[in-house]
């Protein structure tokens, strides 16, 4: 929870306004029985200025793995593309996909290497998905640390979101219930964190693959 990324005013690169990374965001991922629900807002902020209102923060790494991004957008996009390419090469070479843990570890080792050369990728990410061994969520920090979680949140609004997740998440939730908690947690972060907002993307990962919820679906959960 002491992650400097959670502070939207914290800058990793001092005295350089052009490379000042802003990272107001909230992304959430949680396990339910048989799958993963993930949600993220769509706002990109630069201090008090809203730089974009339609940012994509949920990314597909392969058919059953997703990543959420928070932090410096360029770093995050590069890492997503690089990981996606590497996972694809793994699958093409062997004929079966890598496990979720391998996807997370690969990304963590890329981030660790960069951290050890004194110029870390300014991101914190979640890698989540399902494989032959079940549902998995991993959080990754910019130093290359990786930890397995039942639910996770990153970004400036994560403290707000964690409040909801901590009080409502249970093991073996049904799918509907899991989605509702993820959406409620994000909605709470949107209403209490200035750097989070402009709608949400919600993704569902289950045995059938990755499914994006339509804005209508999301609205239904918010009203329920």
């Amino acid at each position: 929870m002491n992650n400097p990324m959670n502070n939207p005013n914290f800058s990793g690169m001092t005295n350089n306004p052009f490379m000042d990374p802003k990272h107001g965001t909230t992304t959430i991922a949680l396990k339910f029985k048989g799958g993963i629900a993930a949600a993220a807002d769509k706002r990109a902020s630069m201090g008090t200025f809203i730089a974009s209102k339609k940012v994509e923060k949920l990314h597909e790494l392969n058919a059953f793995t997703i990543a959420t991004i928070a932090g410096l957008v360029s770093d995050a996009q590069y890492l997503v593309h690089l990981t996606r390419a590497n996972l694809s090469l793994y699958e093409l070479g062997r004929g079966y996909p890598p496990s979720t843990k391998m996807a997370g570890s690969l990304l963590a080792s890329i981030m660790y290497e960069q951290y050890r050369s004194y110029f870390p990728y300014w991101v914190s990410m979640i890698v989540a998905g399902i494989d032959d061994y079940g549902e998995h969520i991993y959080t990754l920090d910019m130093a290359g640390g990786i930890s397995a979680e039942d639910f996770a949140s990153t970004g400036s609004g994560s403290l707000v979101a964690y409040g909801v997740l901590e009080s409502t998440w249970k093991e073996n939730l049904p799918e509907e219930e899991g989605l509702k908690i993820a959406i409620t947690a994000l909605a709470t972060a949107i209403s209490r964190d200035t750097a989070t907002g402009d709608g949400m993307d919600v993704v569902l990962v289950n045995k059938k693959g990755i499914k994006r919820l339509t804005p209508e679906d999301v609205k239904k959960y918010l009203e329920a």
């Binding site: 593309h81 390419a85 090469l89 070479g93």
Partner: protein, 218 residues
Amino acid sequence: MLGPQSMGYDRTTTMYSPEGRIIQTEYARESVRRGSIAVGIKSKHGVVLAGLLRIVDLNEPDLKIHKISDKIHAIFAGVAADGRLLITRSRLEAEIFNLTYAEPIDIQGLSIKIGDYIQVFTQQGGLRPFGVGLLFGGIDHKGPSLHFVDPGGGVMSCKAKAMGEGDSEAIAYLKETYNEDLTTDQMVEIAKEAVRKAARDIELVDENIVVEIMPYKA
């Protein structure tokens, strides 16, 4: 007068024979001719690759058709270890292109990249040319595409192609039956028959013929 062979012109790729041939590269083509047959057909409706799978003793059958990217497959005939290296390289090139341009690679571009790599082995000293012919088939932004890369690094766009042992019989059959309106089902039948023709007297069971279908809708 001594022939080019006995003069030693066939010993290296860094020396032409007096007739302007690079005989080592021609030997490499010979090793493609000894490989198990590989067939590719392209029409308006897609691309079909087919190959003969030689099952030796109690070995598990090897892969004959290799996936390169979402919509590209490759098949090779010749030295298997050489082919494997080029397959791995093709996948890498496809991913690098995708990573750089956020677009899938075009089959001609991929074939030329691999052709360029193969060419180096026909010019640089101390290297042995690749003993494989490669067929890249698939769908890209222009539609169905089928490209052949030879051990000299040459790249050709083909309507249909056969390479490997018995390829002359297979090509003769392809010439007879080919037209640009073939459906994928027809192409599968033709490709299988071309493989059987190449196998000549040897009776083939279904497990011996591998097929990959890449359909295309305009």
